[in-house]
């Protein structure tokens, strides 16, 4: 792709607490479908987004068993975004802040997500066409 971009995102929020995760993932999905190369630096609570032990549950209020409820799991969204980027000729590289992982015991991340440091964010930012920081509120 002639105008292939590299974009870096840093996100801070953990799953199931706010709407920023979905907004960022929409941006990532759009960029992944354009074949861009994407970097995600997960900082603080965001290291729980690719936590591999997330599981679906039934929802009695909805009258659904676990299969019917098909509860969204951010780890599956992350995996799907990685696959989508690959399918369209790009890549999505995900780094979890290592100290943030240690604080939360969130060591078990899905394949495609690795441990790193804030230095990785800075290096990515220097190599990218642009960087978007999505802080928490």
């Amino acid at each position: 792709m002639k105008d292939k971009k590299t974009l870096t995102f840093s996100i801070m929020d953990g799953p199931y607490e706010q709407a920023r995760t979905v907004t960022v993932f929409r941006l990532l999905d759009n960029a992944a479908r354009r074949g861009y190369n994407l970097n995600v630096f997960a900082y603080e609570g965001a290291v729980n987004l690719p936590f591999s032990k997330q599981s679906k549950h039934p929802n009695a209020v909805h009258g659904h068993d676990a299969a019917e409820e098909d509860h969204p799991l951010p780890k599956d969204w992350v995996a799907s975004l990685i696959q989508t980027a690959k399918k369209h000729g790009g890549a999505l590289d995900w780094i979890n802040c290592g100290l943030c992982v240690d604080e939360r015991g969130a060591h078990e991340a899905i394949d495609g997500c690795r441990r790193g440091t804030p230095g990785d964010l800075w290096n990515w930012a220097q190599q990218s066409d642009n960087t978007l920081i999505v802080g928490t509120r």
Binding site: M12, P118, G119, W122, N123, A125, I133, G135, T136
Partner: protein, 126 residues
């Protein structure tokens, strides 16, 4: 590349982290070679106030030994030649005087923001 770190959200998890994550990552990236400045706005202007003391927290028998020292953390940024600015409108709105702010903190007006932003390759809003 030179980046302006705008820090807006304040005292969100400073007790648990014993610092502010946006200030902390500024220190960490500076250590990795980053060229950064900081603009404190909103409630975060209070990070530039001298003499903060968050000590004394105790839950049962657990005493916090290393409470956050946000003013020290900001002073250490300045010590690393990071330009730290605060919006005067935001300090005034919170009754913070110039005498109460750390030496070396630059007081700037929101009207100056476009000029300030133009000096940086990127602006990151935490």
């Amino acid at each position: 590349m030179k980046v302006l770190q705008i820090i807006d959200s304040a005292y969100r998890c400073t007790i648990e982290e014993q610092d502010d994550p946006a200030v902390w990552i500024t220190h960490a990236m500076k250590g990795a070679g980053a060229d950064l400045d900081v603009l404190l706005c909103g409630n975060a202007v209070n990070y530039a106030v001298k003499g903060q003391d968050a000590s004394g927290l105790r839950f049962g028998e657990i005493v916090q030994k290393n409470p956050p020292k946000l003013d020290n953390d900001i002073a250490r940024l300045i010590g690393k030649n990071i330009n730290v600015m605060v919006y005067t409108e935001d300090t005034a709105a919170r009754g913070i005087t110039e005498a109460q702010t750390l030496p070396g903190v630059r007081r700037v007006s929101r009207a100056e923001a476009p000029t300030i932003f133009s000096r940086y390759d990127q602006v990151w809003h935490w």
